[in-house]
Symmetry: C2
Subunit: 135 residues, 2 copies
Amino acid sequence: MPELDIGEVARQSGLRPSTLRFYEERGLIASTSRHGLRRRFEAAVLERLALISLGQAAGFSLDEVRSMLSRDGTPRIDRRLLTARADALDVTIRRLTAMREGLRHAAACPAPNYLECPTFRRLLKVAARRRRSSR
Amino acid sequence: MPELDIGEVARQSGLRPSTLRFYEERGLIASTSRHGLRRRFEAAVLERLALISLGQAAGFSLDEVRSMLSRDGTPRIDRRLLTARADALDVTIRRLTAMREGLRHAAACPAPNYLECPTFRRLLKVAARRRRSSR
DNA sequence: GCTTGACCTCAAGTCGACTTGAAGTCGCAG
DNA sequence: CTGCGACTTCAAGTCGACTTGAGGTCAAGC
């Protein structure tokens, strides 16, 4: 079982060496030994990095991701946390969908002034409401 | 036509006074006069602030928003820009939707180990691919 | 034996969108 | 006239996720 150089991990994961050092410092991954100064990683780190990227793509912060990954690599995940994140994504998706429709409409709308277009005005209100509630 | 104090604009827009000053400094809004030291805003600034929030919600940066708003308040918008943003949103929405489904599945998946679940493995690959291409 | 290039550490910088803090100015109610 | 609270400026701080830079180490190939 060959250990990997940081450069090799970078190549295979698509992440930069600086990112890998940063992740190690933040406790997200661990190098298993050193060869002189140089870190060596077990191949399993690649799986773990994939999990980290997945967590990020799902909207978790690095701190949250770390708390979801146990030392051995297999995540022991709180299902309620996943469901909550799924719900949050759902809200985001709805908002973005409305925005996308609005943009397409605005791009095609024949109204001389955007402010006169009902669809546009509805969007304005939605944006204002969101801004208000996120304060 | 009464002019508004910064506090009044803040109250009506849901933004903080500090944000309004910041926006003015960045050229997104303009105060029309001063009462002593104090800025006065025309009521029309509220409409403009709504447009700014809308632009942000659609994913434009403040710099982009500024370039889309002419001095008089009515945006002269490049329709191609809107369409491009709509397309970008579409990509994001698809990705988030896949993620949401994946999360819901993971929350319900009976597989003893996430890594053995085909749905989960598919997600892992998607995340890895994205990471790779965004480099 | 020397060069090269991949690695190392640690501190500081970056980006966007604001916020915060210190120190000062004003207008208006009492 | 005094006090208070809402405003002012300007510089610096915050947050998350990294990146960059300076200065140093080390193994392998020529």
